[in-house]
Symmetry: C2
Subunit: 537 residues, 2 copies
């Protein structure tokens, strides 16, 4: 396996990141200059001006210029999602949904490995259920969607479209749990949920979203606590290993705890604009719902006890987290492990006489990689120039690009470029003699990209967390757009004050804490733990 570096690549020379769009311009440049390179040439079929015009609206605002505009542009241009007809709703398009499917595939296996079964609860919940747990109704009632008419008739009791399922789950658990032998009861469902949010943003906060919600019932508080911790640990590993997002796992403050939970564990992620995203939560519900619903079991002595419960969830919000963690001015950048397409192959030819051999070589490269389990796409459309394709697939965040031109075919090699290192490309030789050379190279590169994205995100995260010892330092950190980490043992009202004065909330008390005595940044009293404060989505 031989890989020689070619630095910088034509693409980056011709189209520096900040000036890549609009597409129409780039195409002209590309057609005029690429032939000189000896391998990158005009395709035999070029796109009609009409098509190029249609596509020119794919322009992405540079991230460095306007993060929010960039985020919305990426979602539109990369065809991740679209707006639904009802305010605040979202249509998840195939490319965005494929990322969600990758999330589902991984977590679904982990849930089953840890003893959970999938099932499905109805989404219509009698309104009276929501009222049973005091803090739950307080937390959720402003966000409810209500069905009041069914089959042409006004309903006697209005129905809540589930915002979460603890209430209906407990209603059913009371019927399924009789004795300690029925415990633990550990289930999960993949479902849609509805929360009537006022300020919405695709993937991050929508009226309806997709999630999984796990619900468990245990005989002892220790078991419930262990389960709640286990699930946040699974989410943490998932975030690090699959999505390359270095989340910080920890415990929520009392004020930020889920409506109905004793303890909420969370994973907090730093987005590219340094705002925090709560990317997953796991709740120790104690006996709050079991007392409200009478979910009891006979213990080994035949005595009736209320079960101890947990619930935990990850949603399509995670897709937003992936976009906002790794994207750059050019567009999306996907970690290979969850990328729907890991490698795109762009065949390049000038004359019709070259087309057959180039396409044939491209097809066999595709075949080789596909057989080896790599998710690969061959973009052999003749309606686009290679330059257009390079930019398009970069914007779509494909981790690796393989170019094959006539010279590559005759010298029996391909050119491989990494999405995360602009302008750096390698050549792999001898692939027709030993296809495994390419497979090994590609898999190695994909692993490198995966690790590299994680390392980059870790160093970005760590360089943007400031350790603070006073409220003034906290305010400085927050106003400079960073996260503040400092010892905290002050009151709920102090926490509320920080929020009002700085816009930042306690994201979590991280599990990982430094040793030694600590002094509360606000009160000067002793503090057991440091908290992380940040503005958040």
């Amino acid at each position: 396996m031989v890989a020689s570096l070619r630095l910088p690549s034509l693409t980056s020379l011709l189209f520096p990141a900040t000036t890549r769009y609009p597409a129409a311009l780039r195409r002209t440049v590309c057609l005029r200059t690429r032939p000189a390179s000896g391998f990158a040439t005009a395709p035999s079929g070029t796109a009609s001006p009409e098509v190029e015009r249609l596509r020119s609206d794919r322009a992405v605002t540079p991230r460095s210029q306007d993060f929010n505009a960039w985020y919305l542009d990426v979602i539109a241009s990369a065809e991740l999602a679209d707006y639904g007809p009802v305010r605040g709703t979202m249509v998840i398009r195939p490319y965005g949904y494929a990322i969600w499917e990758a999330i589902q595939e991984y977590l679904n296996v982990k849930f089953k490995e840890t003893g959970h079964s999938n099932m499905y609860f109805p989404q219509f919940i009698p309104y009276s259920f929501i009222e049973k747990e005091a803090s739950h109704v307080e937390g959720f009632s402003p966000e409810l969607a209500l069905v009041t008419v069914g089959g042409g008739k006004e309903l006697e009791e209005k129905l809540v479209v589930r915002p979460t399922s603890e209430t209906i789950v407990n209603h059913m658990f009371t019927q399924w749990i009789q004795s300690y032998r029925d415990l633990p009861l550990m289930i999960n469902q993949w479902a849609n949920v509805t929360r009537w949010e006022m300020r919405t943003k695709p993937f991050i906060r929508t009226l309806e979203f997709l999630w999984q919600e796990g619900h468990t019932a245990h005989a002892t508080p220790e078991e419930a606590e262990k389960e709640a911790k286990q699930m946040i640990e699974i989410y943490t590993r998932f975030a690090f290993e699959q999505t390359a997002i270095p989340v910080i796992p920890g415990r929520k403050s009392k004020l930020e705890t889920f409506a109905g939970a004793d303890i909420t564990y969370t994973i907090e992620a730093m987005m590219g604009d340094r705002k925090a995203l709560q990317a997953g939560t796991s709740h120790n519900l104690g006996q709050n719902f079991s007392r409200a619903f009478g979910t009891q079991f006979a213990d080994e002595n035949g005595e009736r006890q209320h079960v101890w419960q947990t619930s935990w969830a990850v949603s399509t919000r995670f897709v937003g987290g992936i976009i906002m963690t790794h994207g750059d001015d050019t567009g999306l950048m996907l970690p290979p492990k969850i990328a729907p397409i890991q490698v795109v192959i762009v065949p390049i030819w000038k004359k019709d006489s070259e087309k057959t051999e180039v396409l044939s070589a491209a097809s066999s490269v595709k075949e080789v990689l596909q057989t080896a389990g790599v998710r690969v796409k061959l973009d052999d459309t003749e309606q686009r120039t290679p330059g257009w394709k390079f930019n398009f697939w970069e914007m779509k965040g494909i981790p690796l690009r393989i170019e094959i031109g006539p010279r590559d075919v005759s010298s029996n090699c391909v050119v491989v470029s990494r999405r995360d290192i602009p302008g750096k490309a390698g050549k792999v030789f001898g692939i027709s003699m030993d296809p495994s050379t390419l497979v090994v190279y590609v898999k190695e590169k994909l692993d490198e990209i995966q690790s590299s994205l994680l390392e980059k995100a870790i160093s970005f995260r760590d360089s943007n967390i400031v350790d603070v010892t006073s409220y003034d330092e906290l305010k400085d950190a927050i106003s400079s757009g960073k996260w503040a980490r400092g010892p905290w043992s002050a009151s709920d009202s102090d926490e509320q004050r920080v929020k009002e004065e700085t816009g930042a909330t306690i994201r979590c008390f991280p599990f990982e804490q430094t040793q030694g005595t600590k002094t509360c940044l606000m009160t000067g009293n002793p503090a057991d733990e440091a908290a992380i404060f940040a503005k958040s989505y």
Copy 2:
């Protein structure tokens, strides 16, 4: 591989099918008599009377006695589903959901292989959308659930909770489709849908159910027709090959066509009570929705054309179809290919000294089968007698049971029984020397069961379809509980009359038709095709 037959089994001798429940009685008999067999003995730990009492409510009404009561009993006892708190809603429990997951797994792959991408549309649809397609609103408006309050406020426009998504799909397609290059557009979603049904039945007809709905847009009517046919063909193969249900594919009559379709293709299945179940449909929508929503594309000549569309769906109703096709007096009977558990291992021991070696042998059998890809469960609980377990897992429909007792361990064999052939068991010898012997035997038996269930269902179906040539013959067939098949070219009002007078509807004009001239059974006029009439769910 040696398999000796042991005929009849103890289970069937002791508990003839019609008298198997209640469990308490069976347990007594079992404990008293099983030791004499030399391999089936009392377990070291026996269940408390309390537990046996709790379980005795698993009694299943024999199918032959009351089909409907049997169906509901099976669903409850096998823990397939439960009733939700809102009338007509259903909780799908893990065992039932696992069957749905098997359906999803197979179809999801087929949809992707045929070029469809998964995505997700919001479930809230503006009421005005439903009104756009005339026959669609007529068909669905009586069944709608309406959200009228969101976030504490009365909504300006009430929202429909999707009963199906053609309208919102077309609303979005208008934004995504510009030119013929954007076609075909082929998507699918796995989702919940709501239809305010008055007469509900678990799995078969519930207020909310799970399904997949495919939606495609094409440039020509020929392509749309080909797609609609392709999808009903995929459903047909799925039904035959995976679920062993010999559905009859065909075309719906005009009266029974989907509200908004030009043509509806259907697969019709005969349940154990000889009622028909519409198990899946595929619609050629023509331009009905594209005209209502203005879904147009520029063709190769730059002219604007309305797209040609299809939609197709299979739902959790299929689970009900599997139950009602294969079950018997004892309970559920699952085709191996979609059975969540294909093999249950029941270890049997009398003395504590035997326990270790029996459990160890049972564990290695489990290991061997699991490694070979067989879905296997080892029921090693000490709270139940082997007799209880036999009956329980038979009721749950597990295709194969493996028993291992001390004598089996010493003679290096296991006893294998088929769920579908009561009283017939085989012995497999020499498994510790060559584990593949058992794997081959088990896989062969699973294949045999799969084929045998299909053959049985085919012969049941065919012996219950009567070819009729007159309306009197049709009435006789229907009143005897059978299906009637006869040439039909009569009017919609004649069809309506048949429904009113016999309770039967045209299920379909089967694709498979006999050659030769036909005479309409009702009018005596020439007829192109025969139709199938039956009472249905």
